[in-house]
Subunit: 335 residues, 2 copies
Amino acid sequence: MRRGERIQLGVDVGGTSTRAVMVDAAGRCLGLGVSSAGNPTSAGPERAADAIVAAVGAAAAAASRDVKDADRLVAAIAGAGGTPGVRLREALVAAGLTIPVVYRADLLGMYCSGALAADGYAMVAGTGAVASSVRGGELAALRDGLGWLLGDDGSGYWIGRRVVRAAIGAMDGRLPETSLAAALLDRLGIAAGDDVTEYGQSRALRQAVDALYSLRPVELAGFAPLAFDAARAGDEVAVHIVEAAGEALARTLHGVLEPGVDGPLVLGGSVLSRQPDVAGRVVAAFRDRGFAGDVVIVTDGTLGAAVLALREAGIDPDSEMFERMRTTLAALRDA
Amino acid sequence: MRRGERIQLGVDVGGTSTRAVMVDAAGRCLGLGVSSAGNPTSAGPERAADAIVAAVGAAAAAASRDVKDADRLVAAIAGAGGTPGVRLREALVAAGLTIPVVYRADLLGMYCSGALAADGYAMVAGTGAVASSVRGGELAALRDGLGWLLGDDGSGYWIGRRVVRAAIGAMDGRLPETSLAAALLDRLGIAAGDDVTEYGQSRALRQAVDALYSLRPVELAGFAPLAFDAARAGDEVAVHIVEAAGEALARTLHGVLEPGVDGPLVLGGSVLSRQPDVAGRVVAAFRDRGFAGDVVIVTDGTLGAAVLALREAGIDPDSEMFERMRTTLAALRDA
């Protein structure tokens, strides 16, 4: 390590993958490392710790540095409050991490990937869905984020669940016909056919039901793309699901609107970052309520984790530094 | 056993309890036995077998007979097709049952508790929801019954899930206010209050979310009664849930309507047998489609299991014998 150089580690810890970036005091992203799921609630503290250590190790190696060259590690992470956070901290030490670790909300990491403004709004709709206002650089008023069974209205799970229920209901002759039925069978690798079981329900329906019950419920989120594809092709049932998702997300976002907060709106998660129709609907509804700020769409919280790491080190990136962080991180991603 | 006396055992095997009745060739119910859950899918084959053996043992004891005095055992049961049925059969033998066992559909047992007619309709809405036409004394065309995740539209689970999501969404400030929120907290034993957690969501909300995620999903069916109570008190959100349940059940029932079948409609399960508003809505919608038969509401499938057991023995109960079965079973229940 060069004398006097100050290095930070920002880590965007996700339920699917974990991304670590090493950044210097000038905002240069020096190395990027990616590993597996690091959420301590779903992956467990040991696997989460292993994923985080693997990602920061890869980031340091890519930067030709050592992990312990960094002042600290700032993790943008969900589910690290209370006991899971304590267990994760112990598991990180057990996995050989010696630098201090600071947890920040993953939603705040997402916000800081898109905006430096102290006040604004953040919304993520991926497998789950959550929104918050941001005041003074901190999450202020959270809405939803309450999980597949009780909340996550408009999320990938919410959409995927409706896709499979609409498809199954159509195959069962209870609900309107929809191209989602054929699309679901195709995705499951089940041949459509007229074969019926003893009580008149089709064999394909029974096979689809068995296949879907063999999944964990949250995996139904994987069927959300079927709705987007079918809606684009004009399927009315799919159009209704996608529109309803947009309305549900808009309701959640309305819940965090505060008169004094007119900063940017940062949108993330696959449902918002990859589906312009849904994002457009949510933004239009928010503007109808009086929101007049900029809208930024981000694909993950890696850049924001680096911003949070710099701030933790007493370095407050300005727009010039932010742009340097963005371009150097993009170069690492492309490498 | 008196020489020449022919005895049968009918068993209504349920996901909550199991009821066995011993019946003689004249249709006299001689003994009733009740035990725990006997569904082989949810309880496992060993526990299911134990429950069935306990129920038939109690029924035989109440009749001052022996289980092996019966020609056979006819079980009205769900989920006993394929491997689970084979495993249950093995477990019944291992538990000491020596008489032949015949499986019939639980929905058919429910139908036969209310009607002797060879043709008709059966619908059950308890934790789950399923409907079928009946032709020649057998289930003909089944609809739904596809479980909490993929189907069971309008069932107790379907209603209970909407109750908790509406209550949680209202507490989260995303969905309309409803008395279901206070009712849910009361049911969970959580004090309502203005305490908030770090991101502005109330402590009561977080406690409710934690409590609900500690349940198995299907247990959300237990919150369905909150909707009925709140709807009667005029809560708009609850009224909408109950109305939508009626519409969903009506759709399922419409799916089994057959021009040639004009026999009775037998309704069972707590949502239909205890909620006259829901049952009334479903029946009115069915009549709008052309159904002109009688409607019978039954509380369980015990009487029907006895009917099926007698038929299996070559005895076809007429209306006089059916009435004798009904009154002697009622006397055993009251004893």
